[in-house]
Structures are given as structure tokens and as C-alpha cells.
């Protein structure tokens, strides 16, 4: 049953999911210059949010897909207004450390409130089957997750390239001073963009809930992989995050299929190679030394 094509498809399915999760990280770095270490914790909050929503109000997966990211958006806004904004003018190191501390805090709070054994969450009805095409077989949910992630990435890309808001955001990313000089109030967009990035992390978390264990620690190792994705794709590049996500998904799938003992380290080797050879990543802008 295992074949190269099968593994490729599985890698792409997982990759779409990584792409979505990395997208928020890339957006936040691109516009604010913040390396958001708490992205993994926000992903975890999204998954926990979906489980809690189901538990308390009976609202299932489809409602969670809408409600949880909105809640996470406001959470992100709160984070930015209360904490992140004060350090924006300093070296990115400080916000990196701030979000690192915030991660410790959030993970432990969740552990205290919801315990450590994990929360249950079922597959949404209608997506719990398998799709077989010839000799390929994939779970329906995986296909959905991949397509949904791709759709979101396309929408975000469209917004950024085709709308005025998107243009402002991109201009601010390239050169905030000049954009400001053109009379555009860049500062006004910083908070909503941050919130949006966090909302994307939460959305990825909701997507993960049906097929990953929902524990307080689920984001901790995940965020390290996300950094690898974003570095490979190019810090600050949307396209980079998407391509990087799919690439990492594929590398992981092939690694697990053909060289399982090396599967985990291949991603980091790739990351090191990219940073050394082409530090701006596959699609990032050139670094100014």
C-alpha cells in the first residue's frame, strides 16, 4: 500500500496544514518584525478552544472553525496592545524573549485548568471516511484539511495583492518609513495584522483538533518545526511560508517512509543549509548585512 505517490500525497496533506500554521508566523514577522515564539501556544489554544467549545456548548467542528479564530483574533489584539507594542522599536530579540515567556505562562495555565491528559475531540461527521483512487488511499479529513489550508492561503494572498489594505500591509513590510511619508497611517494596521496572525494560528489549531492529541504541550515542538518552515521559505514571505510548509511536509513524509531514523533531523539539516546558502530563504528578500 505504501508507494512513492501515496507518500507524496500524504506529505502534501500534512504540508498544507504546516503552511497554514506558518502563514500567521510569516505575516507577523513580515509586518511587525516580531518573531512570535508563542505561535505554538496559540495553535494549542485554538485546538483547546475547539474542544472546550464542544464540551461546554455542544458546538461542533464547523462552528469552531468560525468562532475560535475570531476569539483568537481578539486575544492577539490584546497581546499586542498589552505586551508586544512596547518592545516593537527594540531589537527583535526582546519580543522573541517576551513571547517565549508568554508561552511558558500559557502552557502552564492550560495545564492547570484542563489537566495534562488531553482533551477528547472527534472527527466531524461526514469527514470520517476514506477516499480511494486507484491504489491511493487517503483519509477524507486529511484531504479536507489540505484543501482548506490551501484555500485560506490563496485568500490571504489575494487580499494582500489585490486589495488596498493588502497593499498598505505589503508596503509597510517593505519600508514603513516611506509608507508613512506617503501619508498612510501604518501604525493603525499593526494591531489588526498581529491579531490576524494569531487568528491563523488558532485556525490551524482547530484543524488539528480531530487528528492530533489535544494536550497543553502540543505546540511546543510544533513551533520549532514552524520556525524551520518559515526560515526555509523565507522570513516574512507569504509565498515562502506556504511553499516551505509543503516542502517540510513532503520532506517529513519521505523521511519517515524511507529513512525513519533520520526523519526528524532532516528538516533541521535543510534549515541549516538554507540559512547558510541563501539566508533569505527560498522567497525572502535579500538580507542587508
Amino acid at each position: 500500500m505504501g508507494s512513492f505517490v501515496q507518500y507524496t500525497v500524504q506529505g502534501l496533506a500534512a504540508g498544507g496544514f504546516y503552511a497554514l500554521a506558518a502563514l500567521g508566523l510569516a505575516v507577523i514577522f513580515g509586518v511587525l518584525g516580531v518573531v512570535n515564539f508563542s505561535h505554538g501556544a496559540c495553535y494549542m489554544l485554538g485546538a483547546v478552544g475547539a474542544a472546550v467549545l464542544l464540551d461546554t456548548s455542544g458546538l461542533g467542528f464547523w462552528s469552531a472553525l468560525l468562532i475560535v479564530p475570531v476569539v483568537m483574533f481578539f486575544f492577539g489584539v490584546l497581546m499586542e496592545r498589552l505586551l508586544v507594542q512596547w518592545l516593537l522599536r527594540l531589537d527583535p530579540l526582546y519580543n522573541f524573549l517576551l513571547t517565549f515567556g508568554l508561552t511558558l505562562l500559557l502552557v502552564d495555565l492550560v495545564k492547570r485548568r484542563y489537566g495534562v491528559s488531553g482533551l477528547p475531540y472527534q472527527l466531524p461527521a461526514g469527514l470520517d471516511g476514506n477516499v480511494t483512487i486507484g491504489s491511493l488511499s487517503l483519509s477524507a479529513y486529511q484531504i479536507f484539511a489540505c484543501l482548506f489550508s490551501l484555500a485560506v492561503c490563496v485568500v490571504v494572498w489575494a487580499v494582500l495583492t489585490k486589495t488596498r489594505v493588502g497593499m498598505i500591509v505589503r508596503a509597510a513590510t517593505e519600508n514603513s518609513e516611506r509608507t508613512r511619508a506617503l501619508g498612510i497611517n501604518v501604525t493603525r494596521w499593526v494591531t489588526p495584522v498581529f491579531g490576524f496572525g494569531i487568528a491563523l494560528a488558532g485556525l490551524a489549531g482547530v484543524l488539528a483538533a480531530p487528528f492530533r492529541a489535544i494536550t497543553a504541550d502540543m505546540g511546543s515542538n510544533f513551533v520549532i518545526i514552524l520556525f524551520a518552515v518559515v526560515v526555509i521559505g523565507g522570513l516574512g514571505s507569504i509565498l515562502g511560508a506556504v511553499v516551505g510548509g509543503f516542502l517540510v511536509g513532503l520532506v517529513e513524509a519521505y523521511g519517515q517512509a524511507y529513512a525513519p531514523s533520520f526523519a526528524q533531523v532532516v528538516i533541521f539539516v535543510l534549515m541549516a543549509v538554507v540559512v547558510l546558502v541563501r539566508p533569505s530563504g527560498l522567497f525572502g528578500r535579500e538580507e542587508v548585512a
Partner: protein, 339 residues
Amino acid sequence: MSDQMTARVDVDLSAGPVISRRSPLRWVLFVLGWVVALALPWFVYPPVAMDIAAWGLFAMSVDLLLGFTGLLSFGHAAFWGSSAYVTGLVAINTGWPFPLAVLAGMVFAMVIAVPIGYLSVRRTGIYFAMVTLAFAQMIYFVANQWRDLTGGENGLQGIPRNFFGIDAIETDAFYFYYVGLGLVLLGVFVAWRVVHSPFGRVLVAIRDNPARVRALGYNVERYKIVAFVISAGLAGLAGGVFAISHGFASLQELNWTTSGKVVLITVLGGIGTLWGGPVGAAIVVSLEDWLASSGFEGTGIILGAIFVVIVLLFRHGVWGTGRQFVSRMQRRRRQNARS
């Protein structure tokens, strides 16, 4: 965004020590430091005291890179941890007195730091951090896979503490502390000398404006590599002492969370202060020890909250903020004396 790529660490450092040399406060602190270091195992459970010393040196090694050279390494556990394993393996297999085993660990850390440093210093800022993280993960992976040597998940157990057959030091953690402290202080001395030397001045200049330093004719990359290797050696020295103290080396010592913890300690103590390292270590290690035994279920909440508050309000850390306060007091007194 381009100006955000370069790491310019926001620390107010003058070229020399902020507290004037002739000030008695400096001597007071010097004496106090010795008193605390020597008296620590009386106040605190001796193995924990040794941990404080080891993490303190580890944090100083990170500060050397971060505060004085402007490079944030997010993979320093690679040197602490690999030295711990090498120290353990040498101690187990040769029966040499443990300072020699620690020396072996330290040398190993410096040896692997050469290629890692050579490759990593081509990048700065967040990229440097990511590369060091990637290399540290690779080393973690190797240690995990090579379980015949390292014991894998079980860790390297039963590291002996040989010291010329002197029973008191070999079995009693209290007396061992003083020998371990001696080793740690050697590292502290090296760090202090590096910072207060022409070499150290060049590092600070590189931190602030690498282009200018290059224009002055210095080979910036080579200085960075040397700083990196020295820092790795100090981290290795600390890791070796840690391994002998615990009699044990585990994968935790190579984990990225350990790299994160030492950065946390460094920031808490104060970036660019050097002495902030031991202060931060004392706080974090004691706090963790106390929380673990108290049954309180929220170590992460406390540590995370402290960290967030420090980064937001006391960016210069405990030592840095204290130093700022003292210099402000001195300035005011000088103004009063003049008026």
C-alpha cells in the same frame, strides 16, 4: 525591515565598568561575591548550590556572546550537553580525577564549536539564532541515536566522582562543591579577562557597528568565531561540572528547552553585565527547586510571568537595573557635590 535584521542589542554599556574603580561599592560587591560563593552550601542544599554555580557560568558564556558580541545563540545547550556526556564518558572509562574529565568535556565543546561557529557567524540576528538552533537539534539527534554510547533516553548513568581517593570530596556533596566551585571560578576568571581586554573591546565594537570595525581593518568573522569558541568552552566547562555533580548526563542537557532556559537566566540577570548570569541562575534554580518541593502546580506560570515582566519593565535584568540605579545615584551625588 532590513534594519530589524541586524542584531543591535539595546543595552546601555559604556566602554568601561559603570561603577568607578575607586568606588568602595565595587570592593563591597567583590567581597560580598566571594562570601556568597563560599558560604552558599551552608544556606542551600549543596547539590543545588553546585547547580547555581554551573548555570551561572553557563549564563555568563551566553552573555559573552549576546551582551558583548551581539550574537544570540539559541543552541548553546549543544556545548553544555555534549561536554556533559564527554565528561561522563571519560570519567566512567578512565577513572581519572574528575577535573581532567571536565577538561576533556570542555575541549570537546570547543572543538565542535569551531565548525559550528565558522558556519554560523556568516549570519547575524535571528538567522544566527536559527542556525545555532538547527545545529543543536542535530547534535541532540546524534546523541539520541547513538544510544550504545550515550544511553539514549535513559541517559548516561553512574558517572563516578574520582578525586585522588579523597573520600570526603568523592562522597559528600558539601566538600565537592568547593572543588567544583574552583573549576567554575576558573571559567569566570576567563570570561572576566576576555571582557576586560582589547579583544573584548573589539567584540563590543562589533556588536555596535560591525561595518565600522571591518572598515578599520579587523577580520570581524574571525573575532566572532573566537568569541564563539571561548563561549562554547565556558559552557562546556559548566556542563562538565554539572555532569560530575549529578553523576548523570541526560538528553535534557541537549534539548532546546535548556538553550531557552539559559537565555532566560541571562536576560533575567542582565544582558551585557556578565555578573547577571550567576544572579539570574541563583534566582531561577532556587525558584525551581523550591517550587518542585512545595507541591505548587504552576512553575511555568511563575517563571513565565517573571520573564514577561522582566523583559517588559526591567530589560536590563536584575544586575543591569541595579547598576543603572547605582550610576544614577552616583551621578546625582556628584552633581550635589558640585553645586
